[in-house]
């Protein structure tokens, strides 16, 4: 009656999809409850961050605002989704302690809940992006059609990252702190608020910080379609391969530790 890792995934998706959809929406409602602006707090705080940093960095990099701001905006909202998915995954099982200990539900419900609620939040942030594009009278064109497959690919990668982070952090609570600091470093070393073109000519840095940088591809696959640049073939290949290998690894890892999880809480 104990599920294997793949059964856990299958049951979470087939039988309990309404549960995590419901919990994700409920989490989103909870985040804004009794606030006047509601979901627009995300929009507002993102907007302030994006516009102020965008302006400062356009001066620092000596780039026209019209060029840097859409790039920064699209990259930043994608990054925000990534960083919240990872940091919330760290406590995905820990936060679901009472559910896990008293009900026989598949564990991946808790992972899918985290990914789903952050996709909702991302959709809110798109308002800032839309405002920036309208302000500068820009239109991403047909590359926007690549956004849905890009988000799907991103979510498939989230699935394995979240699962591994959640399992490790349930057992080793110190890792929660490690995850937070690693994310912060990744934000600065990845081309998000500085354009990747800045690396031109520095081959080693281009390789380490962009081409080989997993986080760069995760961000760029969504950022590209938003700013009218179809992501490179390298990005697609990188992310498809990582989604496959990552999920195979994560499910094997999950299979091995699934029976212990309830005791680690």
């Amino acid at each position: 009656m104990q599920l294997s890792a793949t059964q856990d995934l299958a049951v979470s998706l087939r039988t309990h999809w309404r549960l995590w959809l419901n919990l994700g929406i409920r989490d989103t409602r909870g985040r804004y409850r009794r606030t006047v602006l509601g979901p627009f707090w995300t929009v507002l705080s993102n907007a302030v961050m994006i516009v102020s940093l965008g302006l400062v960095y356009s001066i620092l990099w000596k780039l026209p605002v019209r060029e840097l701001l859409p790039y920064f905006c699209a990259g930043y909202i994608t990054w925000t989704m990534l960083t919240t998915v990872v940091s919330e995954s760290a406590v995905a099982f820990i936060g679901a302690d009472p559910i896990i200990k008293s009900l026989n539900l598949p564990y991946l419900v808790h992972i899918l809940r985290v990914i789903w609620r952050n996709l909702i939040l991302f959709a809110h942030s798109l308002v800032v992006y839309a405002a920036v594009m309208i302000y500068f009278r820009l239109w991403p064109g047909s590359s926007l059609l690549l956004l849905p497959p890009a988000l799907l690919l991103l979510s498939l990668n989230f699935l394995w990252i979240s699962l591994v982070v959640a399992i490790v952090c349930t057992r080793f609570r110190d890792v929660i702190q490690v995850v937070a600091s690693v994310l912060q470093v990744l934000f600065f070393v990845t081309p998000i608020f500085w354009p990747v073109e800045r690396l031109e000519g520095i081959r080693m840095a281009t390789f380490v910080l962009a081409d080989a940088n997993f986080v760069y591809h995760l961000v760029d696959v969504v950022r590209g379609p938003l700013i009218g640049e179809a992501p490179h073939a390298l990005t697609w290949i990188y992310l498809i391969v990582s989604a496959i290998l990552g999920n195979v690894f994560a499910l094997a890892f999950f299979e091995r530790h699934r029976r212990h999880l309830a005791f680690w809480l």
Partner: protein, 261 residues
């Protein structure tokens, strides 16, 4: 009672079931002392591998629960009653041994799980149904049923944080008992609200218990156990001391209590 029941009649079967779990925040001195707890299961090192503190919550359990059985689970605090119920519910997996459960299991262990006080009663019932794994059709039936059972009136559309504690208990109880299982697991029957509502709650649990084809009820109340159970399962430190007719089980427990004291 037959010792070798035909398999169709068996609802739950345990063969050599052991359950050990590691304790991670135990400090070094605690870890090396090899304590035997005065309360609780056996605390010791895990066999093989790295030394670490483990609690042996269930030891070599062998038993069959047949369809129609009403099993009262008894024993002192820390005997492993709740752990056994969690194993039967599928929340904990045995460290070794075989567990077979035939039928849809539901527990009243999860009372209050998933309640969000900022959501309305109505929304909490919807989420509660999903947590219990009910499909859409069942959920609609349950929704009506719980709303009328809880007698919350217009409060059902108010955030749960505005509820009195009695109303909250009613809501949690209503959701937890909205199930329709083959095998029902209950950890203590709780006192629910005022006297009138308590009678209503009892009728609801009684109905659940009689409808389920097998029942496992953990309790310290002998009267309760006698009323609802035909068999008793007496655990001490995770080991089965007695499993048989309820009156004999209660007698065995009482003897153990007087001898122990």
């Amino acid at each position: 009672m037959t010792r070798s029941p035909d398999t169709a009649a068996v609802a739950i079967s345990l063969r050599d079931v052991n359950l050990e779990y590691p304790v991670f925040d135990a400090d070094r001195s605690f870890r090396t002392t090899l304590l035997r707890g005065s309360v609780g299961g056996l605390i010791g090192r895990s066999r093989g591998g790295r030394p670490r503190t483990v609690v042996r919550a269930l030891s070599d359990l062998n038993l069959d629960i047949l369809n129609g059985d009403r099993v009262g689970l008894m024993g002192p605090n820390g005997a492993g009653k709740s752990t056994l119920l969690r194993v039967l519910a599928g929340a904990y997996q045995p460290s070794s041994g075989e567990l077979i459960v035939r039928g849809r299991v539901s527990t009243l262990l999860g009372m209050g799980v998933g309640i969000d006080v900022d959501e309305t009663g109505h929304e909490n019932i919807v989420t509660g149904c999903l947590l219990l794994g009910l499909d859409k059709r069942d959920s609609e039936r349950v929704l009506e049923d719980v709303v009328s059972f809880c007698e919350l009136g217009q409060y059902i559309h108010m955030p749960v944080r505005t509820y009195s504690s009695g109303m909250l208990v009613r809501l949690m109880f209503g959701i937890a008992t909205s199930i329709n299982p083959d095998i029902l697991l209950i950890d203590e029957v709780l006192g629910v609200g005022d006297a009138r509502f308590a009678a209503k709650a009892e009728a609801r649990v009684t109905k659940l218990m009689t409808q389920a084809s097998a029942l496992v009820l953990a309790s310290h109340g002998n009267e309760l156990l006698r009323r609802f159970c035909n068999k008793g399962l007496f655990l001490v430190e995770g080991t089965l001391r007695y499993y048989g007719p309820i009156d004999d089980a209660i007698a065995a427990y009482d003897t153990w209590l007087t001898e122990g004291a």
